[in-house]
């Protein structure tokens, strides 16, 4: 007799209905967030940071806040022109995730002694990331679904997934645990984008050329942001994570070549 809990036995429609739901989201996030106020277990102790390490971490977290705020603004705006109810429900869960990310990053900044996060973020924000944010919000304001999903759920989420995953392996214990929780959320956001766009490109191949142009325009911003973030974290090029393996891998699977 088939195991009713075996996800691989689900039909495609049942699978998508299952995962694009608040029911799924509630039970998924419960696993890695329950008992972790602001994303961190109470028993995790602060490590001693040098002034230089602390300052570098503040700059990095300020830029994470820029990315998460962009994703919060974009995903909430996209609900209004999402093509179907499943996408709307999924985006509603993403909005909650992005709001949580912003909240825990601001909380971490306050733990690091930042009294005025808005001023600090404005002073330390990466120019490339701000330009990327503006381009993303232009797509959202134009109700351009394909460009918005591509810029946010493929490009921005892949960048965040790669950087956060790597940073969680090198950060102090408190920052590392909150980043691991964010990475768990990013898997859903990134997967939603690639799969939605992949299905859409099969049905509308002419969209491909338009998105390819957008990709070429945004590539420089993404790669410069990545390089600058790695610099802030003090990670030498030889030890930097493989952005190509995640971001360029995702766009290659969608049929985009550099």
């Amino acid at each position: 007799m088939a195991n009713q809990d075996d996800p691989h036995l689900l039909g495609e429609a049942d699978f998508r209905n299952t995962v694009h739901s608040f029911e799924f989201w509630f039970e998924a996030v419960e696993g890695y967030l329950h008992g972790r106020p602001y994303g961190v277990s109470p028993h995790v102790a602060e490590a001693e940071l040098t002034d230089r390490q602390r300052d570098g971490l503040i700059t990095t977290l300020c830029n994470y806040c820029v990315g998460e705020t962009a994703a919060l603004d974009a995903s909430s705006g996209m609900i209004g022109f999402a093509p179907d109810r499943r996408a709307k429900i999924f985006l509603a869960t993403q909005v909650v995730d992005e709001g949580r990310h912003l909240e825990i990053l601001l909380h971490r900044l306050s733990q690091l002694g930042v009294a005025d996060p808005d001023a600090e973020i404005a002073a330390r924000a990466n120019r490339n990331l701000l330009t990327f944010r503006d381009r993303l919000l232009d797509f959202v304001n134009a109700s351009d679904w394909e460009a918005s999903v591509f810029a946010q759920n493929v490009i921005l989420e892949c960048l965040e997934f790669t950087v956060f995953r790597h940073h969680s392996g090198t950060a102090d214990p408190v920052t590392a645990e909150l980043l691991r929780g964010i990475v768990s959320d990013e898997r859903r956001h990134m997967g939603f984008g690639e799969n939605d766009l992949g299905r859409r490109l099969i049905g509308a191949p002419h969209t491909h050329d338009r998105l390819h142009k957008i990709k070429r325009d945004l590539d420089g911003l993404v790669l410069n942001t990545f390089v600058e973030t790695m610099g802030e974290l003090g990670i030498p090029p030889s030890e930097q994570p493989d952005l190509a393996g995640d971001y360029l891998g995702a766009v290659a699977r969608l049929g985009f070549r550099t």
Binding site: D6, H8, R188, L201
Partner: protein
């Protein structure tokens, strides 16, 4: 594509009892079907495949073969296993 509900053709497939792996990113009833990839020293068992999208290891109660379809719930991807020069790799189906 192989229908997972049908009996396998050719050599019988190995069956596997799935234990909990500590993976906690999907609802409890699905957690034993996934585990974290432990990095370069890690190896996939005959009932496992690596999701190319989110790098989580997908597990099945039976040996996996080319043509099988599996789901990665953590990133919500549908995958098909293909034979790539003798190695089983997962390809995203859109």
């Amino acid at each position: 594509m192989n229908d997972p509900l049908q009996a396998p053709r050719g050599q019988p497939r190995q069956r596997f009892d799935l234990e909990e792996t500590g993976f906690n990113e999907v609802p409890i009833r699905f957690r034993r079907f996934y585990r974290r990839w432990r990095g370069p020293g890690d190896a996939l068992a005959p009932n496992e495949a690596l999701c190319p999208v989110c790098k989580v290891v997908i597990r099945s109660t039976r040996e996996l073969r080319a043509g099988d379809r599996v789901y990665c719930m953590p990133c919500m991807s549908r995958l098909e296993l293909i034979d790539d020069n003798g190695m089983l790799v997962a390809k995203v189906l859109y």
